[in-house]
Symmetry: C2
Subunit: 337 residues, 2 copies
DNA sequence: CGCGTTTACGTCGTTCGTAACGATA
DNA sequence: TATCGTTACGAACGACGTAAACGCG
C-alpha cells in the first residue's frame, strides 16, 4: 500500500469510475492507474469496485470504506507538505476557494485584494457553485476553503468558522404598489406579489420558505437565480419583488429601486468558512480568513481550527457593522453586543 | 513522501533517535533508514532532527509536527489493513493489550479465555505497565488497547470506553488492632497505621492521597507495589494495612486476612479501555472488549467507537454485579440503577 | 577502539510509459 | 467504430543490502 495507490484509488472514484479520466487528472497514464488499482486490491484482498466485464460498475461497500480512509491519508500527506511550506515561509502557492456568487461578487473582493497585496505570488482560484456542490468539492479535497451561508449550522463533518451575520432585504421598482406601504411590510403583503430570489428559495427547507410556511402563506417564486445581478435585472424588468442578501446592494441601486429592510420577517443568516478538519491550512489561507472577518485574529486561528479543541469561535459581527449600509439605518445590533 | 519514509521517521523518533535501533524494529538496515530520512528532509526542506556532528541530537519543532501527522497516516494505513482483514473475516492476527497488573491478573483472564475459544488463531500479547507507560505505548501505536483505571476521566486524545466500576477494600491480618473496630472504619483510623498499596498511591494527585488530604490527614505509605499479590504478601508479613482493588481478592484470602469494605471512604474507580480514535479495530478486538463488559454490545461497538459521533457509552456495571463478592454483601448499587 | 552514521556501489524490484490487444456499446 | 480497460514489454528509476570509510567519545 502506497500513498500513490491511494491517490489513484480516490482519483478513480472521483472521476466517476472512469480510469482514463482519472489518469488525466493525476497526470499519469491509464495503464498505470489500472495496474496500481489491481495491486492494491490484491494486497488488501478486496475488490474496491464491482466490475461488469472490463469496466467498473460501482464502488463496493468495502471500497467505500477504504476510499474514506484513503482520503484522510492523502489529506494528511498534503497537510505535511503544507506544514513544511509554512515553516519555510514559502509565500507562493494556490488558494482554491469555492463559494456562491453573492459572496464572490460582493464580499470577497476586498479580502482577496488584501491577500494579493501581502502574498503577490499566491494564485487564487474561485469556483462558483451551489451549496451542495461546495460541500462535495470540499469533501473531495478539491478546494481549500468553502464560503457559504445559511441560517442553521452546516454539516459537522467540516469545521465551520462563522464570518459574519447578515439580513435579507427586499427590492422593487420605484413605482411598485408595495412601495406605498411604508416601512413595515408584512410577510402576508409580500406573498401577494410574485417574488424573485435565489435558487435556494425553491427548496422547501429554505429559511425563506419556512418563514412563509410558518405564517400559513404560500409565496409565488416567479423567478430564481444564483446570481444577485440577475435578480436585480429581473426586478427592474418588473417580474416581481426581489429578496436578496444585503451585501448585494450597490449605492447606485437606490436610484431606480426601492429598498426595504425586513430584518424582523426572516431569520438572520450567517456566512461560514468551511474547512476540512484533517487539513492543515497554509499561512495565506489563514490570512485570507482573517481578512474576511476582523474578529478572527490571525495568530489565534491555528488554535481555533485545531480539530481536537472544541470549536470556540468568537461571535461573528454583523455585515452592517463591517461595511455599513447605504439604504437602512446603521445596525442597531452593535448596541446589543 | 512515502508511507515507508514516514514509518522510518517515527521509528527513529520512537527509538530515541537511534537509527540503528530503529532499523532493527522495522526490519530494515540502518543505511536504508538514514537515506530515506535524508530524502524526506530534502523533499520537505526541513530538518526533522537537529544534528551534532553525525548523530541525531533532538527532534526539531518542525519535526515534532511532522511526526505527529506521520503517526496519523501510519495509523490510517494500518486501519485500512485491519479493515480489509475484517472484511475478509480473517480470524487470525495479533491483539496487543497493555494493562496494569491487577487487571491482567484478576480481570482479563475470563475474557481472554473466551476470546481464545472464539478466535483460536489470535495471538494475545499482554504488556504490563504503569498508567503513564500505557498511554505512551498507545500513543506510539505499539498496542491496540490499553486497559487502566482511575477515578477521573482519562486524556481526551484517546477514546475511553468505561468497562466497569469498582471499589477499594482494605485488608489486614486477623489479629490486627483495626479488625476490632467493626465495620465502620474511618479515614482517621486508617491514617493511624502504616499502609500498603499500589505504586500510584505515592502520587499526591492519586484519589487515595486526595481523600486523606481532604480530611486533613497524612497517611504513611509504608510500602507500595504494582502487583496486588505483593501487597497481600506484605500485609501478611505485618507491614501494614492493605488498600487494594476488590477485584484482587481471592476466596482463600479470607482464611488468614480480615477484609473490610470502605465504599464510602474513597471514591469509586472506573476501569477504562482506551483506544486510539484514528485506529480501526479488528473484529476480535471488539469481541474482547465486549467480553470484558456485557453492557457493550458487540454489534453496537463500531458505532460507539466512531470518533465522529459523540462518545455515548452505556453506563458501566459495578464489579460486584458482574462477578459478585465473597467478602462483602452483594452490591446495593443494582437497586439504584 | 567501539559505537553509530554516512558514503559508495551493485543488485534487484518496481514503476511508468508506449504500444498492441480485447471487449463493449 | 469509438471508447475504455487490460496485457505486454522495455527503459529508467528507486529502494535495499553489503561493505567500507568517517567521527566521536
Amino acid at each position: 500500500m502506497t500513498i500513490t495507490q491511494l491517490r489513484y484509488l480516490v482519483a478513480i472514484a472521483d472521476a466517476g469510475l472512469n480510469i482514463t479520466q482519472a489518469a488525466e487528472r493525476v497526470y499519469a497514464t491509464q495503464p498505470g492507474l489500472s495496474k496500481q488499482l489491481r495491486q492494491l486490491e490484491d494486497e488488501l484482498g478486496l475488490q474496491m469496485f464491482s466490475r461488469s466485464g472490463r469496466s467498473l460498475e460501482a464502488v463496493t461497500p468495502a471500497g467505500a470504506l477504504v476510499i474514506e480512509r484513503a482520503r484522510k491519508i492523502i489529506s494528511e500527506a498534503e497537510s505535511i507538505r503544507a506544514l513544511a511550506e509554512n515553516l519555510r515561509h514559502e509565500a507562493s502557492g494556490e488558494l482554491r476557494i469555492a463559494t456562491t456568487h453573492t459572496q464572490a461578487r460582493f464580499v470577497l473582493p476586498p479580502a482577496i485584494a488584501r491577500l494579493k497585496q501581502e502574498f503577490p505570488d499566491v494564485n487564487i482560484h474561485l469556483m462558483p457553485g451551489g451549496d451542495a456542490e461546495l460541500l462535495e468539492l470540499l469533501h473531495r479535497d478539491d478546494i481549500d476553503l468553502a464560503i457559504m451561508s445559511g441560517t442553521s449550522t452546516p454539516p459537522a463533518s467540516f469545521i465551520a468558522v462563522p464570518i459574519f451575520d447578515w439580513e435579507r432585504i427586499i427590492m422593487m421598482p420605484k413605482q411598485h404598489p408595495l412601495s406605498e406601504v411604508g416601512d413595515n411590510i408584512t410577510l402576508a403583503q409580500l406573498a401577494d406579489y410574485p417574488l424573485v430570489s435565489y435558487e435556494s428559495a425553491l427548496s422547501p427547507e429554505s429559511s425563506l420558505r419556512r418563514a412563509f410556511a410558518a405564517a400559513d402563506l404560500n409565496p409565488r417564486i416567479a423567478c430564481t437565480a444564483r446570481d444577485a445581478d440577475l435578480i436585480k435585472t429581473y426586478v427592474r424588468a418588473g417580474l416581481g419583488v426581489g429578496i436578496l442578501a444585503e451585501m448585494a446592494i450597490l449605492p447606485e441601486d437606490q436610484a431606480d429601486l426601492e429598498l426595504r429592510c425586513i430584518d424582523q420577517l426572516l431569520p438572520t443568516c450567517t456566512t461560514w468558512a468551511l474547512v476540512r478538519p484533517d487539513r492543515l491550512l497554509r499561512d495565506f489561507n489563514l490570512a485570507f480568513i482573517s481578512a474576511l472577518a476582523p474578529q478572527l485574529e490571525r495568530r489565534k486561528l491555528p488554535r481555533m481550527l485545531n480539530p481536537d479543541e472544541p470549536d470556540q469561535f468568537p461571535a461573528p459581527l454583523h455585515w452592517r457593522d463591517l461595511r455599513g449600509s447605504v439604504y437602512c439605518q446603521q445596525s442597531t445590533r452593535s448596541e446589543a453586543s
